[in-house]
C-alpha cells in the first residue's frame, strides 16, 4: 500500500509539468507555432468561464437555500425508516445526502462526524470513504453542461444520483468487510 501511495503521489506531482513539456515540445517538433496557437486556445478560457456563471449561480443558490433552511434534518427523518431497512447506519446519512449537493458542506459534515464518532471508528471511516469516493454531482453537472449551454440534461442527474447511492452502499459494504 505504501509503494502504491508513493507511486501515485510522484505521478501526480510529475504529471502536470511533464504533460506541459511534452505537449509543447512535441508541438514545436511538428512545426506548430506554439505561442500563437496557445494564445488562440487560451482565449476560449474566458468565454467558457463566463458562460458557466448563470448555471452555477442558479444551481448553488437552490442548494444553499435547501441547506440554510435545515430541511436536511427533516429529509433525514423521512428517509431513515427506509435506510434502516437496508442496514445503513443513520449517523452516515447526512454525509450521504450532502455529498452530491455541496463539496464544502460535505467536508464540514465529514469533519463533524469524525469528531463525534472517532476517525477510526466504523462511522468515521465510512464517511471519509464516502467523501473520497464520489464527486459533487450537482456542481459537476452545472459546470460541465453550463460550459456548452445544455439545458435539457436528460438522464444525467438520475444517473449521477443513482451512482452516488450505489457508491454509498458499496462504501458501507467494503468498510464493513475490512473492519
Amino acid at each position: 500500500m505504501d509503494i502504491f501511495r508513493t507511486i501515485v503521489s510522484v505521478l501526480s506531482a510529475v504529471a502536470i509539468p511533464a504533460l506541459m513539456l511534452f505537449f509543447l515540445v512535441y508541438g514545436a517538433f511538428r512545426k506548430v507555432k506554439v505561442y500563437e496557437v496557445a494564445v488562440e486556445g487560451a482565449k476560449e478560457g474566458f468565454e467558457i468561464a463566463v458562460r458557466i456563471i448563470p448555471y452555477l449561480v442558479l444551481m448553488l443558490v437552490s442548494i444553499a437555500i435547501f441547506r440554510a433552511s435545515g430541511a436536511m434534518d427533516v429529509f433525514i427523518t423521512l428517509v431513515s425508516p427506509l435506510t434502516d431497512l437496508l442496514g445503513i447506519p443513520a449517523e452516515a446519512l447526512p454525509m450521504a445526502i450532502m455529498r452530491p449537493l455541496s463539496g464544502s458542506g460535505s467536508l464540514g459534515i465529514m469533519t463533524e462526524t469524525m469528531q463525534a464518532y472517532g476517525t477510526d471508528s466504523f462511522i468515521g471511516i465510512l464517511v471519509s470513504t464516502l467523501y473520497g469516493s464520489t464527486e459533487t454531482t450537482f456542481y459537476v453537472l452545472a459546470v460541465y453542461f453550463g460550459a456548452v449551454g445544455i439545458r435539457n440534461t436528460r438522464h444525467a442527474l438520475p444517473t449521477g444520483l443513482l451512482a452516488d447511492f450505489i457508491a454509498f452502499l458499496a462504501a458501507v459494504f467494503f468498510v464493513g468487510l475490512v473492519l
Partner: protein, 319 residues
C-alpha cells in the same frame, strides 16, 4: 428531471424555513419578551480586581422557561463581560461559543448580528438583575435570504476563478491538438471508447480530452481535470445535432466523471490526519473499491436510462 429537482430544493428549503419560523413564533421558543431573572450570586466575578470578566450561572428552570421547545439538560455557566452603566443599569455580553452553552443562545446571537456574542440589557431588581435581549424572530427565513445572496456572489467568484486555469490548459491543449497528439491518444484507447461512446468517432478529439480529464481526476489533479473536461464537452457538443440537449455520450462521460475512481483521496486523508487518525490513509482501499463499483454502475445506468421513455433522445426537443 433537473427542472423538478432544482425547483424541489428551493420549494422544500423555503417552506421548511417558513414552517420552522412559524412553529418558533407560535411557541415563542426564544423567550421573546420574558425577562431573565438573575439572582444575587448567579453573577460571579472570575477574579478579584477590576476585571470585567464574570461567569453567569443560569439555572435549568430559567432556561426551560424561555426555550420552551427544547429540553434543557441542566444549569449552564456562561462566560460574560459585565459593563455597569450607573447604579441601576448595566449591559452583559455573553460569550456563546462554548461547548456547553445551549445552541439557542448561539442562534440568537447570530440572528442579532454577531456569531460569538449576545448582548443583554440589565435592570437592577432587588438584590439581583433582570436581563433582556432584543427580540429574535424568523431566524430561518433570514438565514435562507442571506445564504442565497451570499452564494450567488460565491458562484460568480468560482466561475471567474476558473478563467486563469482554463486559459492555460486550453492553450496547451490547442497546441497538442494541432500537433495531432489528441487524435493519437484517442486511437490508443479505441477498444474501450468505441463501446463506451458508440456515437463518437473513435479518433475524434473529444475522446482524447475525455481520457485526459479522467486521468487527471484519477490522479486527484482537479485543477487540470476541469479544463480537459470542459474541452471534452465542447468537442462532444460539436457532434450534437440538437443544441441545448445532452447527448448520450455527454451523459455517459459525466457519469464516469462524477463517480470517478480516485487513486488517492487526498482531501479526505488530510482531514483524517488533522483529526488525529492513527491511520489516515486507511481509506485508500475502501474508497477505491467503492468508487470502482460506482463507476461501473454509473456507466451501466447511463446506458439503461437512455432507453427510458421520458429520457429518450428522440423525444428531447432542441432549442
Amino acid at each position: 428531471m433537473l427542472n423538478h429537482i432544482w425547483l424541489a430544493l428551493i420549494v422544500i428549503g423555503i417552506c421548511t424555513a417558513a414552517g420552522r419560523d412559524i412553529f418558533e413564533v407560535v411557541n415563542n421558543s426564544y423567550g421573546n419578551g420574558i425577562p431573565w431573572e438573575i439572582r444575587e450570586g448567579d453573577l460571579m466575578r472570575d477574579e478579584e480586581g477590576a476585571s470585567l470578566h464574570f461567569t453567569l450561572r443560569i439555572p435549568a428552570e430559567e432556561l426551560q422557561r424561555h426555550f420552551t421547545t427544547e429540553v434543557m439538560a441542566g444549569d449552564v455557566h456562561v462566560p460574560v463581560k459585565f459593563f455597569p452603566q450607573g447604579a441601576d443599569n448595566a449591559s452583559l455580553v455573553l460569550d456563546v461559543t462554548g461547548e456547553s452553552i445551549p445552541e439557542r443562545f448561539a442562534i440568537m446571537a447570530e440572528a442579532l448580528g454577531s456569531a460569538e456574542t449576545l448582548t443583554g440589557q440589565l435592570d437592577r431588581r432587588g438584590d439581583g438583575w433582570r436581563m433582556r435581549f432584543d427580540e429574535v424572530s424568523l431566524v430561518y427565513l433570514r438565514k435562507v435570504t442571506n445564504a442565497a445572496f451570499e452564494i450567488a456572489g460565491v458562484a460568480v467568484q468560482i466561475a471567474l476563478g476558473l478563467i486563469g486555469i482554463m486559459a492555460l490548459w486550453l492553450g496547451v491543449m490547442r497546441v497538442a491538438e494541432q500537433a495531432g497528439l489528441i487524435t493519437h491518444l484517442a486511437r490508443l484507447v479505441r477498444p474501450i471508447t468505441v463501446r463506451l461512446f458508440p456515437d463518437v468517432p473513435a479518433d475524434h478529439p473529444a475522446v482524447g480530452s475525455m481520457i485526459m480529464n479522467i486521468a487527471a481526476n484519477m490522479l486527484g489533479l482537479g485543477n487540470a481535470a476541469t479544463p480537459f473536461g470542459l474541452k471534452a464537452m465542447e468537442e462532444l457538443d460539436k457532434l450534437n445535432p440538437k443544441s441545448g440537449v445532452a447527448t448520450d455520450a455527454m451523459v455517459t462521460f459525466l457519469a464516469l466523471n462524477t463517480s470517478c475512481v480516485t487513486l488517492i483521496p487526498a482531501t479526505a486523508i488530510a482531514v483524517r490526519a488533522a483529526a488525529g487518525s492513527s491511520d489516515p490513509a486507511f481509506i485508500i482501499g475502501t474508497s477505491f473499491l467503492a468508487s470502482l463499483t460506482a463507476t461501473i454502475s454509473a456507466v451501466i445506468i447511463s446506458k439503461l436510462l437512455a432507453k427510458v421513455r421520458m429520457f429518450r433522445w428522440e423525444r428531447s426537443e432542441a432549442d
